[in-house]
Symmetry: C2
Amino acid sequence: MSVQFAPPPGRLPPIRTALAGRAPWVPAIDDGTSPQGGLRPIGPAIRFAQDQELYGEGDAAETFFKVVSGVVRTCKFLNDGRRQIEAFHVAGDLLGFEPGPGYSLTAEAVCECTVLPYRRRSVEALLMTDEAVSRQVFSHAMRSLTRAQEHSLLLGRRSALEKVAAFLIDWAQYSPDGMLATLAMTRLDMADYLGLTIETVSRTLSQLERDALIELPATRQIRLKDLAALQDLNS
Amino acid sequence: MSVQFAPPPGRLPPIRTALAGRAPWVPAIDDGTSPQGGLRPIGPAIRFAQDQELYGEGDAAETFFKVVSGVVRTCKFLNDGRRQIEAFHVAGDLLGFEPGPGYSLTAEAVCECTVLPYRRRSVEALLMTDEAVSRQVFSHAMRSLTRAQEHSLLLGRRSALEKVAAFLIDWAQYSPDGMLATLAMTRLDMADYLGLTIETVSRTLSQLERDALIELPATRQIRLKDLAALQDLNS
DNA sequence: CGATTGCTTGATACCTCTCAACCCAGGTGG
DNA sequence: CCACCTGGGTTGAGAGGTATCAAGCAATCG
């Protein structure tokens, strides 16, 4: 099992063995309407504790995963420890499917989560024979690409205010009314996803609250009071 | 032919009808070792003038392209005209293959260039039957994704100096000795790719020249004098 | 030639980062 | 029970990097 590879190059606190009962994130519904076709997991669901590593950049990419519950982040590091989170993955998302022999990203559990493991080679065999598998994996890759491009626009051309607003709208989508963002991640995760620092994220949230665009009933619960104004910030 | 859709939302100068003889970019060799399998272009190569649009974001994505010569940029725009270039495409690259019904990016010619058009629907049919096509298209998608993730790291976590250094190293790869970056694009294109302004790009290049890391024999020709130092900037 | 385009450089403003202090909640142990 | 510690978050002061605004230069084009 690809747990406990090389430790991440700094920044992250040591993995807690006694896991604090953090607000478990209520995941998107994995409706099961798009099963893996002829593809079967190679084992039962694996549980990861908060901040535990699923795999590290450069490790042999023989396994990929489907998130069952919780949230997983995929990220890259620079030598000096700077981190860029590429994406957060929720229930139903695939991660770890790679073009080359090694993982191009590191994957870590944002909160306690469970994932199903798949063997990459069996997929590659099925790609040509099983239409359902082919379609799903391909569509996954294309949607990841589209999301990555949106993310580049955000990172390269949006201000801190716009970045945070976009982030909140994204996560509020998972709530019934689309107006409550329930966050599984810390401010540091938010910052490293948005290309900011935690202080700027915190200040920006405070400013949005002062301007009555949002409410902060709890640090991980953010209510969108003025969705229109927030959307305006998204151009 | 999908030329002359909606004009880009500002920023770009009007398309020149009488094309100035700009330094044509010497493309990567399209070695032909990975032909399109059973896939055939739907027509002869199409020529685009500098700054001409191949397709616009949102247009029906019925055609995709393979670059034969020249350089194409794919980019996204915000309402106010801010632009983020997602990628530059050189000979051999595919672009315009999309997961949804519409293009998610705008594509424009960086310099005079030629591309081969393919019909998307015929690929989708071949995806399940033709292994060569399937492999190539899928590999294209995965490599695009990997590149987009590298780009996110650059946009989110690198300084202007690091961004420019990375850019120069990238483009110098196409020269015989990997030490001469011959650019097909303007400083504005560089800036919009790197998430900077033209002034910052220009100042950064000047600084690199002052520090003797590069030489600027011409504005579009940049010689890397100290590759090691430049690579150090890439973490 | 004058006009335009692409590029460079300077002065200044401003946004975000850095460094620091502080708060709060939760857990731990005396 | 309370003191203490830790981790996550907020806020402030100041610095710094990049953007903005403006001027000027060189090459090209009409």
